[in-house]
Structures are given as structure tokens and as C-alpha cells.
Amino acid sequence: MIEDRIANGFSPFVIPFMVGMAFVLGYCIIGMVRLLLQLPGEDRKKFLVSLITPSTMLKNVRDLFLDCLFHVKLWKRKPLLGYMHSSIAFGWFMIILLGHIEVALFLPHRLKTFYYPIFFNYFVAEEGRTLKGSVFFFLMDFFLLVILSGIILAIIKRIRSRWFGMRRTTKLTAVDRIGLYSLWLIFPLRLLAEGFTAHISGGSFLTMPVNWVVQHVFSSPGFFDNNLHMLPTWWAYSIDLAVFMFVLPFSRYMHIPAEMLLIPMRNAGLKIRNARKGFAKAVVYSCPSCGVCIDACPMTVKKANVKYSTVYLNRQIRRGNEDKIEEISDKCLMCGKCSAVCQVGVQGPELRVAQRAVRKYAVPGDFSSINTVPLTIAAGQGTGNVAYFAGCMTALTPGISRSVESLLKKSGVDYKFLDRDGGLCCGRPMLMAGRIKEAHQIMAKNREIILSSGCDTLLVSCPICYKVFKENYDLEAAGVKVLHHSVYFESLAASGKLKIEHDLLNLVFHDPCELGRGSGIYEQPRNLLALAGNLVGAEQDRKMSICCGGSLGSLTLDFQQREDMTRNALKNLCADVPDIIVTACPLCRSTLRRYADRPVLDISEVVDRFAVARGLERSA
């Protein structure tokens, strides 16, 4: 039987813990209320409604368990890293949960005492052994062991981060260090404290041997007298918990409560609208400073530009360091790889666009005076349901538009070339620069031109145009399907309209950021290429593809700074010694060509080389 050992159920050592807990809860609640108030009205409503909608409720619970406790994404990335995090998070959660169950089962009248489940072993005495009690003591010790194994891994990771699949990790701040060391200490201290009291409160396979050690090995009547040191160890445990809770809001450990808010907000469909307020705040505070984005960032090749990676953007936004925030926001290539690898889903590029959008320009852009009449008239002429929009980048790489036209002719498609004699920019570069209003002016005009063509399929060569047409133009609603040429020609080949002869060339495909991570198109270009030659792999591809370095996303990187990035991307692509590097973006193609030691071609150029004109098929 387990019973109260201390009649009033109180000891002064619980005070540090209680104060720390009150502080951290107060801080988080006030922070959450402020954050909710910062949300635009419709977003707030959307969020609150989602909290009581059964389907999102279910999703929230699932995501909270899988992401916050089990760290499923980390397991997928590197099991050792996943084990380290989930052992601490899930173990801790279980200890708290079991502590409450213990109180509820054995001492239900103490349930309203907040600290009881945490310091249970101090306040109870085991009068007689029961199976129920033993099971709980066993479980408590078991999860403590799980946590301790995680802590040992965490200490090893600090020394040998490469064993955990990380080349570079973040530089910790002073507060982060206090948080880290106090976190490491919590569980050894708990073990020690429970060990000191285990002969009274009862214990299991972990706490009992510790008790035996302190009872017998150090049992000299002087210093190591067990009962004399029982209380100081419990004090130490409580103070350490308090230290951790006091530094939590100012350290990276703020990600623990923040992520619990971020997950339901994301599931409610909220988007970053302001780089500092509302949803963005939840995003920024959810960053655990793990530094996975440092290795992922294409700018950090040769140890350069580490300070511009997303983890440091989050840190500077938390600090409110305006100069650094601006600098980091402008430097980024917007390739989206940091988002792809981020375990909590920090959206690096979106944060930066929101930051760029608050900037004031001396001369506001105004595109309302652009006359679209000649362009709409030109677009309306000619026949064909397929309108080909080459875009500015393809206008600078006429080799690509030639191949696309040639393939369209070989497939017998009736098409019109929408911007052969000039057109408007798609607006995405403006959008990425954060000039949202100007971008929308251009986009509205461009949409008018596209719709006046009367086409039902808009074929584009440039993934930058593709992404914006798809996401911001609302063309599908007007009955216009937007297709990138790699997808279109793949479907033509699959339906037999386009015949391609196979060759023995080794081809590697470079996923353009805007087409791959940006639009989720990975397989169609590869299927199409596999018809023309042998597809070989790159070191990192698909979601992990490395930006070519030519992106329009960066506002401040110059050519010399980009050179190392491009060379790194090329090295990654040439791992399997391809004969030709193939991509599906005119900008990637130009950029890679600058330093490549072998041909770099657009997918349309490669396919056109092996495509057979209709009626000219070689007879079998």
C-alpha cells in the first residue's frame, strides 16, 4: 500500500518548481493570447472554428503525438536522431502522465496539489508491496532509463554531431546553454533524489540499486548518511526544474510550447501574412535551433553564409535585430530546401517574403499604365487550344523555345505562341521580392492576355512562371489548364502522340526548385527522360535537390558568391558521371552551363533530339 508520508503534503523544496511553473505557464498563456489577437480577424475565426471541427481535432491530436512526442520526421531522417529526441520527449511525457495516474490511483485526495505527481516519491511511503505499485515503479524507472539514454546520446551529439548525420550545427546562445545543461541535469537529479528515498517510497530496477549504493557504499555515519541528504537532492531537482522553466521562454526550448500552438494553427490552414506577428510568431518560436537547415542551405557551401540560414533568421526575429533580419531576408535564394528538411515546418522563404513585403521603396512601382490591348488582340489571333507561354527566361534561351515548338510540331499539336513578339512578366520575381501589390498589377494584366487567347491549355517552359500561374492566377477556375512542358510532353509520349527513340546516353536530371520542391513535380520529367536515355542519379535529388545558385529569389547575392553554389550543385549532379545534365528550367540551364564541364540541356532539347516527326517513324 502506498500512503502519505508527510501529513500536510508539503515541503518547502517544491517552491522553486511551483514558481518556475507559474512563470512559464503565465508567460505562455499571455504570449498565446497576444499572438491570437495579432491574427487578422478571419484567420482567428478560422483557427477557433478548426479547434472544434472534429476532422481537424483528430488531425491535431495525431500530429501533436507524432511530431512533438514521437518525432516521426526525425526518425525518417536519421533513426539515432529520432530516438534521441523521442526518448526524451515521450519519456518525459510518460513520466508526467504516470505520475498523475499514480496520484489518482493511490492518493486521489492529493490530485489538486499541483506538484504531487512530480515529487511523488518524496511524499509517499510504501507500507506493503503490491503488484499495482510495483508495476508503476517499474514503469517510472523504465521511462527514466529511456530518458537517460536519450540524454547520453544528446551529450555525445554535442561532441560528435557527424554521427547523427549533421555536419554543422547551430552555435548556442548563453541562455540556450543554461537551458541545455539544466535539461541534461534534470533526470540524473531525479534519479538521485528518488534513489535517496527509494527505501521509504519504494522503487524499482533503477532507483533501488541507487538506493543500495547510497545506503551501503557511502554509509559512513558522517557525510553520506542517507536520510541527511534526502532533502538536498530533492531541493536540487526542484531548483533545476525551476532554472529550466525560467530560461525556457528565452531559449530554444520555447519550441516545446510553441509547436503545440503551431500544429493546430497550420492544420487550420493559416498562412504567414506578417513576418513578425501572428502565425509567423508561432513559426519562429517553434524553431528548435537544431541547425538541420544549415547543411541544407545551398548558400553555405564552403562554410560560407552560415549566418544567412533560416535558423539564424528565426533567432534574429526573436531578438528583433532589424539590420540582420533585413540582411538575411534579402540574401536567400528561396529554394525552399530549408523548409523541406525542417522538422517543425518552419517556412523559411515565406518568412522572408513577408519580411521583404514590409519594406518601403522610395519609388513605388506602378504598372497600371501598361497597355495590354495590342497583346490581347495578338493573343486572340490564330487557332489552337494550346497556348505556349515561353516567358522572359526562355526568351533569353531561344534554344529551348525552338525545341518546344519542334516537339509540338512533331506531335501534331495545333498551338499558338503567346509571347513570341513580347509579353508581360509572370509577376513571380516581383512576388518573391515582396512587392505584392505591384506583382498583382502585372498578374491581373497577364491573366487578361492569357484568357483572351481562348486556349484551354497553357503550356509554359519556365517553372517560375508555372508556379505563379498555377497558384496565383486562378486559371483552372476559368477553364485553363496550366502545364509545364516536361509534364505535357510526358503525357503526349504516354498517349503515343510523341514518339521518342531510346539512346544509350547517360542523363542526370536536375530538379529546378520551383518545379520540384515548389510545385511537387518530380516523376514526370524523369519518366519522359527515361524514354530518351539512361537516367542516372545525383547524390541528392528530388526533394533534396541542390539549387543551381541562379535563383531570382536572392536580392543581394552577386555572381562571384553564386559561383561556389553552382559548382557545388554541378558536383552533386555529376556523381554518376552523366553524359548530359538535363534540367527543365531556362534559368537553371543558363546558370549550370556557366561552369559545367559537360553539356547542360533543357529536357525539351534532349527529347527533341530523339523525337521522331509524325509520319517519319522508322518502320519496324
Binding site: L396, P398, D421, Q560, R593, R594
Partner: protein, 335 residues
């Protein structure tokens, strides 16, 4: 017996250095990769500012080195430092030991296909400055068909970080003006445009050339880089550029577009420099001991440079540098 000096390269720098070395009492050995001497200049038609026929000059220069030993169609297979000199192994199997080597490997013309937006190799009516000189020489090029309008694009691959070259090629400004005048003389009815970002007319009589081109030949100079070239249905090209003096974008339809390809370091220079660990400069050209006082000397004893292997040069500059290199070699060998 006369002392041998190996000269790598067979352009005007090599020929002139050989001539000077002969008269100083040495026995120069010219190693040239191609099958003829004269390099880029031999392919040119006329040279500014006096419209000297390039082939006459090259012929005259070659005739002056009849006593020099010349290995055509030969490359340097290896170049090794000995205790007191170099061992040069040629691709024909010959091994030459000498105390001094002159590197005169010159330049490559920038590959205009790299500036794809200008359409060289894609559109029919786009040619380079070298193509045009060849047409002047041979009169045989399908692209030149009595053009009514001709454009010249300056700085193609020069002063262009996007193309990987920051250097100015020095000669293209005046070459464009020279070629524009020559075209106007052949096709007096044609409208001729030069698209430039700067006109760097530093040499003797260059400015006169420019003034004549405007005054006597009515050639239009438009300040602004060409952004894009498109092909028209009738096979001509449309050039989109900005006139930065009037601040307006403009579109010009042309029958012929000539790209003034700049100079980049010869691809072979770096491999030869690598054999003896001579330095390559940040611009890709070979690095002189210094760029003021010792341009023809390298950081390796007995290795000398002449001509465009160390940077972009005009013909007269190259010739004086070749003479200077010969004298430096002479001083090195006798001292």
C-alpha cells in the same frame, strides 16, 4: 653553337620574338599547335587604324624568320624544370633542353554561343566579328546577302560577369567601328547600328575613326546593351535594347547582326602553366611577375611571356611585348 629558346605558340608574338632572338644570336624553336603561323591575325582582313592588310603583315613577319626552326601541328606534351633550365617534350616525340622558354599562347575568341540570348548558332543571320573578317577575305558566307540593315553588338563576353569574364577586350570597340565602316563601304544603302555600353577608344587615331564613322559614314551609335534577339518570320532578326541616353527601350529589325566576341585566355595556356606551376591570374590569364615593370616575366626563372596570354592586347602592344620579351630572355641568358 647557338643557344636554343623554345617559343610556345605561333602567333604574331611568337614570330616577332623569334625574329628578335635570331638577330640577338639565338636559335628559336617555334612550337605551334595548328598547321600555320600567324594565329588570329592571319585570319583577319585589315588592321586598324591604317587599314593595313593583315595577311601582308603576317607574310612579311614570317619571311623574316626563315632561319628559325618551326614545328607546326605540334603540341607541348610536357614541360619539366631541370636544375638549370627546362626539358620540353613535344608531341612529335622530340625532347629539347633549353634554359629559357617563351610562352606566347595568346587568346581564344569568346564562344558567342554562350550568350544564347543573342542567338549565335541558333538564328541564321547572326555572326561574329571573326566570321565577318573571314567573309571580307573570302567573300563567301551565306549570311551576308546584300543586307539593308546591320547591327554590331559590342562587348560580347567582355566585361560580363554573367559570362564569367570581367576583363575588357580592348580591341572590339575600334574593330566594330572598323567593320561598320567597311560594311558601309560595301553596302552604302544599309543602315548600320552599333550597340555599345562604353566606347573605349584609347589608341592612336581611334577617336578619329569614331568621328569619321558618324560624320562620313552615318553609322548610328546606340548606348545600351542588347537584352535579347529574336528571329523574324522572314529570317531576319529583331534586336531589343535600351537606348540609355534617351531612356527608352527600342526594337530594331536587322538583316545581319555581328557580335563582337571578346578575348578569353587560351584554353591551353593554363595546362602549360600547370606543368611548371606558373600562376594563373583571377581573370584566367597567366600571371606576370608584376603588371607594371615585369609584364613579360613570370614567377619562374627562365619562363617568359609575350602577347595576349597574360591579358587582352592590341596588335602593336603584342609586337612591342614580343620584342621586350626577346630582350629580357637575352639579358637572362647572358647574365
Amino acid at each position: 653553337m647557338k643557344e636554343t629558346v623554345v617559343i610556345i605558340g605561333g602567333g604574331i608574338a611568337a614570330i616577332e620574338a623569334a625574329r628578335q632572338l635570331l638577330s640577338l644570336g639565338y636559335s628559336p624553336l617555334i612550337v605551334e599547335r595548328s598547321n600555320s603561323l600567324g594565329g588570329h591575325v592571319a585570319q583577319w582582313h585589315r588592321l586598324f587604324p591604317d587599314m593595313t592588310p593583315a595577311q601582308d603583315l603576317v607574310r612579311q613577319m614570317i619571311s623574316s624568320i626563315s632561319q628559325a626552326e618551326i614545328c607546326l601541328g605540334t603540341e607541348v606534351a610536357s614541360l619539366n624544370r631541370l636544375k638549370d633550365g627546362y626539358s620540353v617534350v613535344l608531341s612529335n616525340g622530340r625532347n629539347v633542353v633549353c634554359r629559357a622558354v617563351l610562352i606566347a599562347t595568346g587568346f581564344d575568341l569568346f564562344d558567342a554561343r554562350k550568350k544564347e540570348e543573342y542567338g549565335y548558332g541558333i538564328y541564321n543571320q547572326v555572326m561574329t566579328n571573326r566570321d565577318l573578317e573571314q567573309w571580307f577575305n573570302t567573300g563567301n558566307d551565306p549570311r551576308v546577302r546584300n543586307p539593308k540593315s546591320i547591327g554590331f553588338v559590342h562587348c560580347v563576353g567582355s566585361r560580363d560577369l554573367k559570362a564569367g569574364n570581367s576583363q575588357c577586350s580592348k580591341v572590339c570597340c575600334v574593330t566594330a567601328i572598323k567593320q561598320a565602316i567597311e560594311m558601309k563601304e560595301r553596302f552604302p544603302a544599309a543602315q548600320i547600328y552599333c550597340f555599345y555600353m562604353d566606347l573605349r577608344l584609347f589608341g592612336k587615331k581611334y577617336e578619329d575613326f569614331y568621328i569619321n564613322a558618324q560624320k562620313d559614314f552615318d553609322i548610328h551609335f546606340i548606348r545600351g546593351r542588347v537584352s535579347q534577339v529574336d528571329e523574324t518570320i522572314d529570317g531576319g532578326v529583331v534586336v531589343k535594347a535600351e537606348d540609355t541616353l534617351s531612356g527608352k527601350p527600342l526594337k530594331v529589325s536587322l538583316d545581319l547582326l555581328v557580335l563582337m566576341s571578346g578575348m578569353v585566355c587560351n584554353a591551353g595556356s593554363a595546362s602549360i602553366a600547370g606543368m611548371i606551376r606558373a600562376d594563373v591570374d583571377t581573370d584566367g590569364f597567366l600571371r606576370s611577375k608584376d603588371n607594371v615593370y615585369n609584364i613579360v616575366e613570370s614567377n619562374r626563372p627562365g619562363i617568359f611571356f609575350a602577347g595576349a596570354c597574360t591579358g587582352t592586347k592590341t596588335v602593336p602592344e603584342t609586337i612591342s611585348e614580343a620584342r621586350s620579351a626577346a630582350l629580357s630572355i637575352h639579358n637572362y641568358l647572358k647574365g
